[in-house]
Amino acid sequence: MVEKFYEELDELKAEIPMFGAFAIGMLEDSIKALKNQDLGLAEEIRERKANLAAHHTRIEEEALRILALYQPMAKDLRVIACINQTNYSLYRVGRIGWDIAKLSMYVAGQPFIENLQNIFYMGDLVVAMLRDVMEVYESNAISSLLGLSKRDDVVDNLRSSIFRECLTYMMEDNRNIPRCIDYISVSRHLERAGDHACLIAEKIYYMNTGERVEIR
């Protein structure tokens, strides 16, 4: 019985990096679509939503099934708790990608502002945070997680500087307003995605040590 339990738990645990690659891929591609004004890619990202939801539900069902059948304790219980939170956070990350893809379609025809590159830089930072966290999920090298707070601070600061930058461009030329308004929304979305990286990091830390730390 114990062997069967660990086989199932290991299988479930291995689902998360796969789901992570899918969800983070949606976010990364949505930033590409925004940058390259690629309507085709944006459309394709929007079609990934059904798969995202199905994968998320499958993991949740499996986690609940294991809880119900085996009532895991201690470290095993913490693994399930971490999987559940990570599953939810990754789902949100995928949805953020979906939202950004939608916004990128709105602004595709609007004037592009070459100098407004911070938004893409912010996107790269957030994607890297998420990728690094998922790497720790597999390697359990938790000491690197605590450094995430500083990276999240950079992301938060970028959000306010993007806001101020956009204000300037909007005042300069009112044709910039639609794109700038959307960039402000995108920066808000990216900030949330960064928060999810921190939430996942907290749960991975808890899974490994049983201690709750605040990473934000």
Binding site: M1, F5, M73, A74, K75, L77, R78, G210
Partner: protein, 258 residues
């Protein structure tokens, strides 16, 4: 010595308690503090010493040949292994319920009245009151109040076990020891006993030995994990089951051995 229990708030404590069955060293330097009005669960694989420790608390091990103990076992600050201790009086204060329900082959009423009677209560009205109060405390009154004089053996297993708990309560103990009280019962009877344990802690202190880890997690406030005669870890139940300090505890509660 008398006041040291009050200092840490424990009702029952052991200090470096060792017990030998002949050559076998069954308890090794066990030190534990049981707080009043709590449910404490003792868990661990078969042969780890949890039942032995439980039986030390009311000197049931005295009945086993070749047993030696050293160290201290203190009930309200007094060593229960001291020469002057009246063992019958001790077992009245620290009652016990066993794995298999063991009612006397008498009526339900007589099962409860027996203890108070040998402790000197003869008055019929007083005995009636004790029977009713004990059965109510054991959540059995509503099921048996109309057939108190029928044989106890006619009750179901779960009812018999609650009768045994009522019998323990009839002599007004302070601590109730339970050794695998639900392992012979079905899930519904088990959940009634579990509810009862939680109710009982309002007026008593309950110590339960169980193989069922979910049961320990459900009913207890504090849990001790024992292995090979040692108390490996003792602490808040949530802590033991969610984030045990010891690797050994983690391996046991996650089912890796046992």
């Amino acid at each position: 010595m008398v006041n040291r229990m009050q200092e840490n708030g424990a009702i029952l404590s052991t200090r470096d308690l060792n017990l030998y069955y002949g050559e076998k060293h069954a308890l090794i330097d066990v030190s534990i503090d049981i707080r009043p009005n709590t449910v404490t669960a003792l868990i661990g694989p078969s042969g780890c010493g949890k039942s032995t420790l439980l039986r030390c608390f009311n000197r049931m091990n005295d009945l086993v040949g070749g047993v030696r103990t050293n160290g201290e076992c203190l009930f309200k600050g007094k060593n229960i292994y001291a020469k002057e201790v009246d063992v019958v009086g001790l077992r009245k204060k620290i009652g016990m319920v066993f794995q298999k329900p063991n009612p006397f082959p008498k009526s339900i009423y007589e099962n409860i009245a027996y203890g108070p009677r040998i402790h000197g209560i003869k008055n019929k009205k007083a005995l009636d009151e004790i029977v009713e109060k004990s059965l109510k405390s054991a959540a059995l009154w509503d099921e048996v109040s109309d057939r108190l004089h029928e044989p106890a053996m006619g009750l179901s297993g779960g009812q018999q076990q609650r009768l045994c708990i009522a019998r323990t309560l009839s002599v007004e103990p302070e601590i109730i020891l339970m050794d695998e009280p639900c392992s012979a019962l079905d899930p519904i009877a088990t959940s009634k006993i579990e509810d009862l344990m939680i109710e009982l802690k309002e007026n008593y202190t309950v110590i339960v030995v169980t193989h069922n880890m979910q049961q320990a997690a459900r009913v207890s406030d504090e849990t001790g994990f024992m292995y090979l005669g040692k108390l490996v870890e003792f602490g808040d139940t949530v802590q033991i089951f969610e984030r045990p300090r010891e690797e050994l505890t983690n391996n046991y509660v996650t089912g890796r051995f046992g």
